[in-house]
């Protein structure tokens, strides 16, 4: 009596059916594995690019610090040349002459007789550090006015702009 409750279904796979199923499964798994690897690899490439940029930034920063050391050294030499009776103007003049000897340092004179020194430290990955120093107090002392990271060349977006709407006049 119980056997009557079962309905028999016959599925025939036929010749080569098993191989087709196996090939399908293998194909799916291959696609998944390739996809997961390509995602992981693109993540790794992104982190490597970030690392390159960060490493370049710190090298550029190091070069800027090196030039700062040169500037401070020249300021110290200018102060050493001063006599006790000399006025602050003499220090500023000496310092200007000394700093002119450093490659890439430009002098900006201010109204109150003191001056500013400006230089740039260039990196390899389109980034530079722009430094402005305030030379004040007629002694080897500087104040960092700006220490900015900027791009060396900005991309030109003007040619790619398409005017969608210019408005009514």
């Amino acid at each position: 009596m119980e056997n009557k409750n079962y309905r028999a279904t016959n599925i025939s796979m036929g010749m080569g059916g098993a191989i087709i199923v196996v090939i399908l499964v293998v194909l799916c798994l291959t696609v998944f594995s390739v996809l997961s690897f390509s995602t992981a690899y693109s993540d790794l490439k992104l982190t490597e690019k970030t690392e390159e940029m960060a490493a370049d930034y710190y090298i550029t920063n190091g070069k800027a610090e090196e030039k700062l050391a040169d500037v401070y050294n020249e300021l110290s030499l200018a102060a050493e040349k001063m006599k006790d009776t000399d006025t602050p103007e003499v220090f500023y003049n000496n310092a200007t002459v000394q700093l002119a000897g450093i490659d890439g340092v430009s002098i900006i004179n201010t109204d109150n007789g003191s001056f500013k020194a400006y230089y740039e430290s260039l990196g390899d990955k389109n980034q530079k550090i722009c430094v402005t120093l305030n030379i004040i107090n007629h002694r080897p002392y500087y104040e960092i006015e700006t220490w900015n990271l900027a791009a060396i060349e900005l991309p030109d977006y003007e040619q790619q702009n398409i005017d969608l709407w210019e408005g009514f006049e």
């Binding site: 796979m13 790794l44 960060a54």
Partner: protein, 166 residues
């Protein structure tokens, strides 16, 4: 009422053997691919974490006004590994979750960060060079070919400490 599915099998033994063979060959290649994917992702994550740690140390060093402050920070937060003239090497070990490992707990060490400091010149101020490197002790399976320490992140920078300060 229950369904009984009976497969009327016409699969020959040679077909089963062929299927297993194909699956075994393809499986070996796929397993390699899945393994490479897993450890490549792990390496990418480690690089991000190492970058955060290394850059945090570099920014700390950059923020100090005097070289004494920088030396104090390194002595307090790192273990001094080697002193060679004007060169000092500090090291810190981390476990697999990038938590700092205590001394005497070396079996959990998975990564380490070294800070190499050296004096470039010291005249009217002090210019110091810092090389901060993060490495993994064991190489990654499937993707690392060399058996040595694997370098994750490296930055080099310099810092000038003037006598008068800034």
């Amino acid at each position: 009422m229950k369904n009984r599915i009976s497969i009327n099998s016409e699969v020959s033994l040679i077909e089963i053997i062929m299927s297993i063979l194909i699956f075994a060959i393809a499986g070996a290649i796929m397993l390699n691919c899945f393994g490479a994917a897993k450890f490549t992702q792990m390496k990418a994550n480690d690089k991000v974490e190492a970058g955060n740690k290394v850059q945090s140390i570099a920014e700390m060093i950059k923020s100090f006004n005097t070289s004494i402050e920088a030396d104090e920070y390194l002595t307090e937060n790192f273990k001094l590994l080697k002193t060679d003239g004007k060169e000092k090497i500090y090291v810190n070990y981390y476990d697999k979750c990038w938590n700092l490992c205590e001394k005497g707990n070396e079996e959990n060490n998975e990564y380490f960060i070294t800070v190499k400091t050296s004096d470039v010149f010291s005249g009217s101020g002090q210019l110091k060079e810092f090389v901060i490197t993060s490495e993994k002790i064991e190489p990654y399976p499937f993707i690392s070919k060399n058996k040595k320490n694997y370098s994750l992140y490296k930055i080099e920078t310099k810092k000038f400490f003037s006598i008068a300060g800034r």
